[in-house]
Symmetry: C2
Subunit: 418 residues, 2 copies
C-alpha cells in the first residue's frame, strides 16, 4: 500500500527551513508498514504543485500534502487543488464556524483572509479531531488525499490524531509492525557489525537498523507480520540474543536517554550525585538536569575552568596542579573527592581535559580527557582520548561521565581507558 508525500513552501525549496514534516510523516508511515515511495518538495507555485499532485495520483493510494493552508497571500493550496482536480471551491460551513470561533475567542472578526481558509475543493471534508488545528481530506478515484498545515506542531498533531488512524482503518490487512530500540555506548561501528555477525541464521525475519547518534549508537529491531503475538514473541527472543551480546554497552532501551537511565538508577539506589567539570564546562550538569525530578538525586556541579577555582572550591592541591598539571589523573581524582565533599554527595565524577582546538601538547594532545570518580570508599581515574571538534570532544567526555555513573551504580566495570 504505497503513498507519496508532497510538502509545499518557499521556505523549504529555498533551503531556509529544514523539511521536518516530510521526515516525520515518512517515519510514522513506514513504521506502520505503509510504504512511502516519493517525497516531493515544491514552492508555493501553481504549476509545480499541480504537476506534482497529478503525477503522485498516477501511482499512489494515499497522498499527504502539507503547507499552504494558512490565511496569507502565499497560501494557495486550496485554489491549486481545486483547479488541478477540476472541482469548484465551496465554503465548508463546519470549517467556517471553527475559524469564526477561534477568531471570536481572540476578540477578532472573521476577516476576508480568514474566511478564505473555509473555502475547500468540492467534496473535501474538514479534518479537525478536537476543534484545534485543521486540514482536509478528499478522495479522487481510489486515492485518498490528506491536506495538512505546514506548521510542524499542527501537522504532527493531525498526522497522529487523524491521518494514521484513518489509513490504518482503511487498510486493515496491513501487517503489524513493531520495533525495539537498543542504545549503546562504547562500541565502534565495526565492533557492532562483528557482534551482529554472530547472530547470523538466528534472527528469523527480524530486521536490524544501525543508527549512529553521536557519540551513541542506536540499534533498531523491527518485525512485520500479520500475527501480533508472533511479532512480540519473535522480537522478545531476538532482543534477548542481542542484549546478551551487547552486554554492559547497552545503556538504555526505547525512549529512555542515558541521563534518564542514570537518574532511574540513582533513585533506585537512593544515591546522590555531584560533578566537577572542567573541559565539559557544565554540559554534564545540563544533561542531568534535563531530566524532570533530577533535584532528587543531583546536588550540583562545580565548573572550575581556572586552576584557582579548582583549588578554592574543590581543594585540589597546588602541588598536584604544579606537578601533574590541571589535565591529569591526579587532578581528576582530587576534583572528584572535592566535589563529593563540597556538595555532600554519595558519589562524584570529575572531568578535566583539553577540548581544543588549541592547548594540546605532544604528551597531552587535544582530546585528552581524564575522568575521576569518588565513591563510597574508592577513588578511580582513567585517561581517554577523544577525536573531533571542540563540541564533539565535550559531547564524548560528557557521555563517558554519565556512563561512569551508570556503570558504577550497577557495579559494572568502567570502559577501559588508555
Amino acid at each position: 500500500m504505497q503513498g507519496e508525500i508532497i510538502t509545499i513552501g518557499d521556505e523549504l525549496i529555498s533551503g531556509k527551513t529544514l523539511d521536518l514534516n516530510a521526515w516525520y510523516a515518512a517515519g510514522k508511515l513506514t513504521s506502520l508498514g505503509l510504504k512511502v515511495c516519493r517525497i516531493t518538495v515544491v514552492g508555493d507555485d501553481y504549476e509545480m504543485v499541480s504537476q506534482s499532485l497529478k503525477r503522485a495520483m498516477e501511482g499512489a493510494k494515499f497522498i499527504i500534502v502539507t503547507g499552504g493552508l494558512g490565511s496569507t497571500e502565499d497560501d494557495k493550496t486550496c485554489q491549486i487543488v481545486a483547479k488541478a482536480l477540476d472541482r469548484p471551491l465551496c465554503r465548508d460551513n463546519r470549517m467556517y464556524e471553527l475559524i469564526k470561533g477561534h477568531a471570536e475567542a481572540r476578540g477578532l472578526k472573521v476577516s476576508p483572509s480568514l474566511e478564505k481558509m473555509a473555502w475547500l475543493p468540492d467534496g473535501a471534508k474538514m479534518i479537525s479531531p478536537e476543534k484545534g488545528p485543521c486540514g482536509f481530506h478528499l478522495k479522487e478515484g481510489d486515492v485518498h488525499l490528506y491536506f495538512l498545515p505546514g506548521v510542524p506542531r499542527e501537522m504532527r498533531y493531525l498526522m497522529d490524531k487523524f491521518v494514521i488512524p484513518d489509513l490504518l482503518a482503511k487498510y486493515k490487512d496491513l501487517p503489524v509492525v513493531q520495533s525495539r530500540v537498543l542504545k549503546v555506548f562504547g562500541l565502534t561501528e565495526p565492533e557492532i557489525a562483528e557482534i551482529f555477525k554472530q547472530l547470523e541464521g538466528k534472527t528469523g525475519d527480524v530486521t536490524f537498523g544501525f543508527y549512529p547518534k553521536f557519540p551513541e549508537h542506536h540499534i533498531i529491531l523491527s518485525l512485520a507480520h500479520n500475527d501480533e503475538a508472533h511479532v512480540k514473541e519473535e522480537l522478545d527472543r531476538v532482543q534477548g540474543l542481542v542484549e546478551k551480546l551487547l552486554g554492559p554497552h547497552l545503556f538504555a532501551k526505547g525512549d529512555e536517554t542515558l541521563e534518564q537511565a542514570v537518574g532511574r538508577l540513582l533513585k533506585r539506589e537512593a544515591m546522590t550525585l555531584a560533578l566537577a567539570e572542567s573541559c565539559t564546562g557544565g554540559l554534564v550538569g545540563h544533561r542531568v538536569t534535563n531530566v524532570s525530578g533530577s533535584s532528587e538525586y543531583f546536588q550540583g556541579s562545580v565548573v572550575c575552568y581556572s586552576n584557582k577555582a579548582k583549588e578554592d572550591l574543590l581543594g585540589v592541591s597546588p602541588q598536584t596542579l604544579e606537578r601533574h598539571g590541571a589535565v591529569s589523573g591526579q587532578t581528576a581524582r582530587e576534583m572528584a573527592i572535592g566535589a563529593k565533599r563540597a556538595l555532600r554527595a554519595d558519589i562524584a565524577v570529575a572531568i578535566t581535559g583539553i577540548a581544543g582546538p588549541s592547548g594540546g601538547s605532544k604528551e597531552k594532545p587535544v582530546g585528552t580527557v581524564y575522568l575521576g570518580l569518588a565513591g563510597a570508599e574508592e577513588v578511580i581515574s582513567k585517561r581517554y582520548r577523544f577525536l573531533g571538534s571542540r563540541r564533539e570532544i565535550k559531547a564524548q567526555a560528557a557521555t563517558m561521565a554519565l556512563d561512569w555513573v551508570r556503570r558504577y551504580v550497577t557495579k559494572t566495570p568502567l570502559l577501559s581507558g588508555l
Copy 2:
C-alpha cells in the same frame, strides 16, 4: 536559471534519516541566485529514480543528484542513469586510479564492488577536485547533471568545491546576491513586525526573511542585482536603518553567536565572568565554553541544585533561603555575590528558577526565573516568566543570562522583568 534536486536513499524515504543534503544544496543555490524549483526524494529504486530524473530534465537547466554512488549492492545510481539516458556504462580510468589509490593506501585490493564505482555512464566526467571525495558530471542536451555521494560531509565538500563554482562559471549573467544576518533577542514576532512596518517605502529592493531560532530571532536582509557595488551599498544603507530600529535587541551579526559576542566583549573590556546556576543546571557554562579561548575570561560556574550547596559554596544565608525561598530575587543576588567572590571574577550572573514541569506554585508558577548580577559595585536582580517545556525554559533563562552579560558589559539597560 532554475534547477532541481533529487536525493536518493531508502533511509531518506523511510524517514530514518533527515534529508540534510537537499536542504544544504537548496540553501547554497538559492543564496547565489540559482533557483531550485523542486526537490524529489526517492528510494534506491530503478523506476522512481528513472522517472524523477526524466521529469526533472523537462524543465530544469541543472540537476543535482545525491546518493547511491557507493560500493554496496543498493548503490545503483550509475546503472539507473545509464539506462534512463540510454548511455552504456564505461570504465573511467581516472576514477579507477583514484579508487585504486585509496584502496592501496589502506592496504586493500580493488574488489569487484569497489571497481563497480569506476563504471560511469558514457560521457560522464569524474568530479574530484582534490582526489578526495568524488562524483561525476554529465551533460544531456543543455541540462547539466551533477551526481554526488550521499554522505553529507562529502556531498557538501563537492558542492562547495566543484558544483557551485562550475554553475557560477556557466551562468555568468547571474545577479550578485548578498545577505546580511541580524540576530535579535527580547522581541516577539509581532514586535518585530511592527518595527519593520516603519521601514515601508525605505528599503528599495532589499528583501527580508524572519526566522525564529528559539529563543532568538534571526532577520536576513538580501539583495540581488547585477552591480555588486550597488548591492553592498544598498544593503549597508538598509542594514543601518534596521539596526537603528532594533537598537539594543540586536546582539550579533552574521555567523557570530550570543556566547561568542559575550566572549568578544569580555575580552575587549578585559573582564572575567563567573556563574551561579540553579535551574539551568550548567547550560550557561556549557554555552560559554563552546567558544574556543573562553578560558581567557571564564572562571567557572557553581551549579548548585540543592539549598545546602547554595549555602556551602556560595554563602547564601539560610535566613534568605528560609524567608524568600531558593527561587527569589534575594537568593539570586546572594548567589551572584557568592560566585563573584568564590570564583574571583569581575562580574557574576546567577540564575535560579522553576524549570518544571512540577514545582510551581500560585505565587511562583513554572517558568518563574530570577536572575542576579554582581558587578564592580552594583548588585541587580530581576524576575522573569518564561513559557514552554523544561528544556525551553532552561534555554530562555540561559539566553537571558548571556544577554545580561552582553548588556552589562556594553552599559546597555537590561531587558525589563516582571
